[in-house]
């Protein structure tokens, strides 16, 4: 029979699975399975009803015309045709994709580099680190709305702090949020304010996990500070960089709040980000079919970038447990 430890059958070797190939579940195992599904039941229900189901439904909707008041009407590829090939003036989708990509590929490298630099600074053996860490973290605690209002005020061309400071230095104050060429850099600048947030904390944790004996060994071999950084620090934290990059790109592509609260998608569509476009189409114009199509376009883009990054990661992400090439 075998001993009973922790409720699990310990069966003597060779006496377990019957030769029919079908596993016999003990009463204990059956009970455990029931308990498992009971406990994850709500999540499973939520997954089917609020995630998987809706995903399929939105896929269907993207091929339909639906405005909430009439039944959905199948229109095939019409939504996609409209989005991609609208001739007049320039299809909004391409503009939207462009500005979203511009924002993402500007802000993600800046924020990753910036947080890493901050984390490195905080990782140095100096006094007062907890205080600095706290101060740096505070901006990321500000609710998005409060932060947006704050920056609208700071970026106000006439009365805002930003231009007041520039004027006192004798420099002209740009029209931060009303100049189509300045507005995305302004958003990126706003993002810099939150550099000491979660990304940096994750980097800090990663940095503190680098075994010090590696640094010692490098020093013995004559490596200078920069060399130690490149040869020891960077490879050791590359998984952390990878993690932050993936989250960063996924997050940046979904930028919405600043556009909604600060610029309304303007000026001249300069901040008409993809999620803002989805919001406009689905909830303002009630083109739920088009909105769904846009959502799926976003999803596919993000899927593409995530898979791309996972694929490329083999080249540059170094995991401690792996054999050297």
């Amino acid at each position: 029979m075998g001993a009973l430890v922790g409720g699990r059958q310990i069966v003597a070797p060779g006496s377990g699975t019957p030769r029919t190939g079908r596993r016999v579940f003990s009463k204990r195992e059956r009970l455990e399975a029931v308990q498992f599904y009971l406990l994850i039941g709500p999540w499973l229900l939520g997954f089917v009803g609020l995630t998987a189901g809706p995903m399929l439904y939105s896929l269907f909707l993207s091929f339909a015309d639906f405005d909430l008041f009439h039944a959905p009407r199948w229109v095939g590829l019409q939504n996609f045709q409209y989005l991609f090939m609208s001739p007049h003036p320039l299809s909004i989708l391409w503009k939207s994709l462009g500005v979203t990509a511009y924002f993402t590929f500007l802000s993600v490298p800046v924020s990753i580099t910036g947080s890493l630099v901050l984390a490195l600074a905080l990782n140095a053996r100096i006094r007062g680190v907890p205080l600095y860490r706290t101060l740096f973290y505070l901006p990321s605690l500000t609710p998005a709305v409060a932060s947006a209002l704050l920056w609208i005020w700071i970026f106000n061309s006439k009365y805002g702090l930003a231009n007041a400071v520039l004027r006192s230095l004798g420099l002209p104050g740009p029209r931060w949020l009303t100049d189509p060429y300045m507005v995305i850099p302004s958003f990126v600048l706003m993002g810099l304010w939150g550099l000491g947030g979660n990304t940096m904390i994750i980097f800090l944790a990663g940095l503190q996990g680098v075994p010090t004996h590696l640094y010692d060994a490098a020093e013995i071999d004559g490596a200078g500070a920069w060399q130690r950084f490149v040869a020891v620090t960077l490879p050791q934290i590359s998984p952390t960089v990878f993690f932050n990059m993936i989250l960063g790109i996924i997050g940046s592509f979904q930028v919405f709040g600043s556009a909604y609260l600060m610029t309304g998608g303007g000026p001249e569509y300069a901040t008409y980000f993809l999620v803002f476009y989805i919001y406009q189409e689905a909830f303002k114009s009630l083109h739920m079919g088009r909105g769904s199509a846009l959502a799926w376009i976003l999803f596919i883009i993000l899927l593409f970038f995530t898979l791309l990054q996972f694929g490329l990661s083999r080249r540059w992400v170094y995991y401690e447990g792996e054999q050297a090439r």
């Binding site: 308990q35 994850i40 499973l44 609020l50 939105s58 500000t142 609710p143």
Partner: protein, 292 residues
């Protein structure tokens, strides 16, 4: 300290270089800290100015006069207490559901065996990276069909239906660090699975409970997109949504000091929570990052 003759810089002595580096570091960090704090100080300062002084070309840090009445006005002219209590309903529900449902499911993943478990786990992980927009519209439609638009249900229910995959994942990771021997010992004493969860595992999980509770509090307090699409009547608005609407209202755009005061009110609880639960922050974020 291991010294190597090859590593000695040629121009300055080692300690001089180190001091210089430290000085630069301190200067940069202090500058950074100032930059981080200035916008908040500016908000506070603006919130205490009066209408005449807020729109000035010259930068004025200390308001003169200091108008504490702005905050009184804020609570008098607008139903701010209402907005706060609305927000609290949603926040409290989300915190409780995240901790409860997340730990139950996390416990299942960490401790129980069942056929199909690995499939379920893969599904869990993949939902973590899913952009929410792709379920946004159908969810809205579902809630509309259920007649739940302009109620708090769409903002509360998802938390109870398994909460978020992040919470489940974090609980699972944490529970897996607790030795199984504890479970076995309890079982020998006659505890069923439920008792093990409640009396053995959860009491040991205070750190992760605190972390998840705090993060959910912050998220639910700040969230304005959910309320934006699901709430229509102003008296149901949450604080974040109310502030967002404030910005667009004609009356308020001339009384910017009130908008700033509102912002301060919305930031304050976040600061308080942070200072009370500081250690859980770093710990919690690191948990997400390193196991991710």
């Amino acid at each position: 300290m291991k010294q190597s003759s090859l590593a000695r810089p040629r121009s300055l002595g080692i300690s001089a270089t180190r001091t210089l580096m430290h000085a630069i570091l301190y200067a940069t960090l202090t500058l950074g800290a100032i930059v981080a704090v200035i916008p908040m100080a500016w908000t506070l300062s603006s919130s205490l100015k009066d209408s005449a002084h807020i729109f000035t070309l010259r930068v004025q840090w200390i308001p003169d006069p200091v108008v504490w009445r702005n905050y009184v006005d804020l609570f008098a002219k607008l139903p701010f207490p209402r907005f706060i209590s609305n927000t609290m309903i949603i926040v409290v529900s989300n915190v409780i559901s995240a901790v409860l449902m997340g730990s139950l499911a996390g416990f299942a993943f960490a401790r129980l065996k069942a056929p199909g478990k690995s499939v379920a786990f893969i599904i869990l992980i993949s939902t973590m990276l899913l952009p929410s927009q792709v379920t946004l519209i159908p969810r809205y439609i579902i809630f509309k069909v259920l007649g739940m638009i302009d109620t708090y249900w769409p903002l509360i229910l998802p938390g109870w239906l398994g909460g978020g995959p992040f919470e489940i994942f974090l609980f699972r990771q944490f529970f897996m660090t607790l030795p199984v021997e504890l479970d076995d010992a309890a079982r020998i004493d006659g505890c069923g699975t439920a008792r093990i969860y409640w009396s053995v595992v959860m009491p040991l999980s205070k750190p992760v409970i605190a972390t998840i509770g705090i993060f959910n509090f912050i998220w639910a307090w700040s969230d304005f997109f959910g309320p934006l699409i699901y709430l229509n009547s102003m008296e149901k608005f949450t604080l974040a949504l109310a502030l967002a609407t404030l910005r667009r209202s004609a009356e308020m755009s001339t009384r910017w000091e009130l908008v700033m005061a509102g912002s301060v009110v919305s930031i304050l609880p976040m600061l308080i929570i942070f200072f009370l639960g500081q250690k859980y922050f770093v710990q919690g974020i690191a948990l997400t990052g390193l196991k991710g």
